[in-house]
């Protein structure tokens, strides 16, 4: 699929760089104004280095929009409906996993994560999903929590 809309993406990317540059410019200005480098025997202090990077980022964003922002016909990568669903579902499952770790603990959350992810990536048999989910979450729990000594938030079961 070809379109002349690609410059919109470039504008978004360039503007993100500019916004990031402006945010860091504000932060570096705050740091430059509110610290006393002579007192700390630190010529540059925590702000001047950031100031230079911020200006660099700002300038790069502007140059990027200037160089690439004009309309041009470029092939766009089409993502099928299934692909988009898998993408959104994968990120959502990861986010849910992180939330569940804090709520129901690592073991159960990992089991739910595995079953969900197996479903998303195309494993059809529920028996396989449940058995693999149980086995893998058990292995992960033993390796990382029992032997690895990783202290995940305590859930309702483990």
């Amino acid at each position: 699929m070809t379109r002349t809309m690609v410059n919109r993406g470039v504008w978004v990317e360039g503007l993100l760089l500019v916004i990031l540059g402006l945010v860091s410019l504000a932060e570096s200005t705050r740091l430059v104004l509110y610290t006393d480098p002579n007192l700390l025997r630190d010529w540059l202090g925590p702000g001047y280095y950031l100031l230079v990077i911020s200006i660099g980022l700002l300038a790069t964003g502007i140059v990027y929009i200037h160089n690439h922002g004009r309309a041009q016909t470029v092939a766009r990568e089409a993502t099928g409906g299934d692909g988009r669903h898998r993408l959104i579902a994968s990120f959502a499952t990861c986010a849910l996993y992180l939330v569940l770790i804090e709520v129901i603990g690592y073991l159960l959350a990992t089991f739910v994560f595995f079953v969900s992810m197996f479903t998303i990536v195309g494993l059809r048999s529920w028996v396989h999903k449940l058995v693999l989910g149980m086995v893998l979450s058990g292995i992960f729990y033993i390796v990382f929590v029992k032997y690895g000594g990783m202290t995940f938030p305590r859930g309702i079961v483990f």
Binding site: L40, D42, E77
Partner: protein, 528 residues
């Protein structure tokens, strides 16, 4: 030590140098005996087992994306407390340099770096796989790693202390020059658009500035958040950008199996073999001295090695399309660096990166203070560890060359099984460093960024380079200014030469990039 002091006294008094030479010869013979004793100790079955376990674990850790040597060392540390101290350190050391070997396998086969030092291996290793030359890439990676590892062990035994002393003469000004020189890689890693590379690089530097400023204690970009006060750790960011981003992209594309091709013939022949071996030697010679410098981790040196290899090549435009030198130089450089890190650690007690820092912690837990004293009071201990490096490198060559198929088979597991497992390992790996949920959210956010960068053809190399080198560059610059003011660089010739070299390299890179076809740069940046 006493003998060395006497030797200096003789020299200063202008006395007959003959006794010095005799003392020197005796000292060298004693050193050789120590090394032989050290190697002999490793042949004790239990230490051989520890060495093998470390090497095998290291290879596994290198193969598995998301789990780096530092995080695995951290996970293993509590377990090793119950083991024999010498055996534990042999195992932890084997794991550290073993990860540098194994990291190449998934980089080459599936474009997922097992650890940071193998990120640039993807640039040419994966295109080689797509061309059906996976076997050659894996062979040169393993042999290059062996050359570098063995060279590293020899250097530690013979010339190491002298080189370490020279590296210690580097002040912050020289470090700044060196890091600034490394930063010129931003241009050559940019792909089609230098603006994209610079933007990503600057964003990486900004990302590294989040948290409490180490020199003044003033918070930056924290906005009252406790999590942000500690800054972003390397591992969650890298795991997110590379591991999570890649797995989710594959899930979107409905990938059935992440590596379906054949490994192909292993040993490259003729001109390819010569080119690969020469690049491995260049990578080793670059990686070892850089590895002696604090902060020069295998990840950083791998980027420098790739960049330099590209610059010295007669066909830089082909880099990123499956050039054997791109794999050989990176793999040998990151191994040489991983090995070199043991020298300042053992001789001076100076860790050069996160993995040696964890080994230092382990040594201190056992009540062993690394430093010159270790070589006198615990001579057997020190030389057995050095001896284990020789044996470990041979073990790793066996593990990675004839058994490469075994490791590669991990990558041939259908994606529907492997994808969720890798994702879960990535999440556990991101959590393992500091045991905070904040790091998990950082990894997930980095995963989203990594996915978007891949989709929009933004190079990730500069982002990571800026993120890793940014804090070092800032610290070195501020310390330089604190010690000599803004004109400090004019009084330090080494630093001045490095800065001038950076300027020359920048001009050279801009010119070289103009000669590279756009399509090649486009595909190049996708891999980075």
């Amino acid at each position: 030590m006493r003998q060395l002091a006497d030797e200096t006294t003789f020299r200063n008094r202008g006395l007959d140098p003959a006794p010095d030479e005799r003392i020197g010869k005796i000292a060298r013979r004693l050193q050789q005996m120590d090394l032989i004793n050290g190697i002999a100790n490793v042949f004790t079955p239990i230490y051989l087992l520890y060495c093998f376990a470390g090497c095998a674990l290291g290879t596994l850790v290198g193969v598995l994306p998301g789990l780096g040597p530092a995080s695995t060392l951290a996970i293993l540390l509590p377990i090793t407390m119950h083991l024999d101290p010498l055996g534990s350190i042999i195992m932890l050391s084997g794991l550290t340099y073993g990860a540098a070997y194994g990291g190449s396998t998934t980089s080459i086969l599936v474009n997922i770096p097992g650890e940071l030092g193998s990120v640039p291996t993807c640039f040419d290793g994966f295109p080689m796989t797509k061309q059906g030359r996976a076997g050659e890439a894996l062979w040169i990676a393993a042999v290059g790693s062996f050359i570098a590892g063995t060279f590293g062990a020899i250097m530690i035994s013979i010339m190491g202390p002298g080189i370490a002393k020279f590296a210690l003469r580097f002040g912050p000004t020289e470090y700044f020059g060196l890091i600034f020189f490394s930063m010129t890689a931003l241009v050559s890693l940019s792909g089609t658009s230098i603006a994209k590379g610079l933007g990503a690089g600057f964003a990486g530097i900004l990302l590294s500035c989040v948290g409490v400023d180490m020199m003044t204690g003033i918070p930056r970009f924290t906005y009252g958040s406790v999590g942000l006060m500690n800054g972003f750790d390397y591992i969650p960011v890298i795991i997110g950008l590379f591991g999570i981003g890649e797995v989710i992209l594959n899930a979107e594309q409905g990938l059935g199996q992440i590596y379906t091709g054949k490994i192909g013939k292993m040993m490259p022949r003729g001109e390819e073999l010569k080119k690969g071996l020469k690049a491995a030697v260049r990578g080793t010679l670059l990686g070892f001295p850089l590895g002696l410098l604090p902060g020069m981790t295998p990840g950083v040196v791998a980027f420098i090695a790739y960049d330099i290899e590209k610059k010295v090549s007669k066909y830089p435009e082909k880099f990123g399309t499956g050039v054997i030198e791109g794999v050989a130089s990176v793999e040998s450089a990151n191994n040489a660096t991983a090995q070199a890190g043991f020298l300042p650690l053992l001789v001076f007690g100076l860790p050069t990166g996160p993995a040696p820092a964890i080994i230092l912690a382990a040594l201190m837990i056992y009540g062993l203070q690394p430093g010159p004293v270790l070589f006198t009071v615990n001579k057997t201990f020190a030389w057995t560890i050095i001896g284990s490096m020789y044996i470990g490198n041979v073990m790793l060559l066996i593990l990675n060359l004839p058994l490469v198929g075994l490791w590669a088979r991990i990558s041939t597991i259908p994606y529907k099984y492997l994808g969720p497992t890798v994702l879960a390992i990535c999440i556990a790996g991101a959590y393992s460093v500091r045991n905070t949920m904040f790091d998990l959210w950082v990894a997930l956010a980095a995963g989203v960024v990594g996915y978007l960068m891949r989709k929009r053809h933004w190079p990730m190399g500069p982002l990571i380079l800026g993120f890793i080198l940014g804090p070092m560059m800032e610290q070195a610059l501020r310390q330089s200014f604190a010690s000599g003011g803004p004109t400090v660089f004019f009084h330090r010739p080494i630093a001045l030469v490095l800065l001038a070299a950076a300027a020359v390299v920048l001009v050279f890179s801009f010119r070289a990039l103009k000669r590279v076809p756009k399509e090649i740069l486009e595909s190049d940046s996708d891999l980075k």
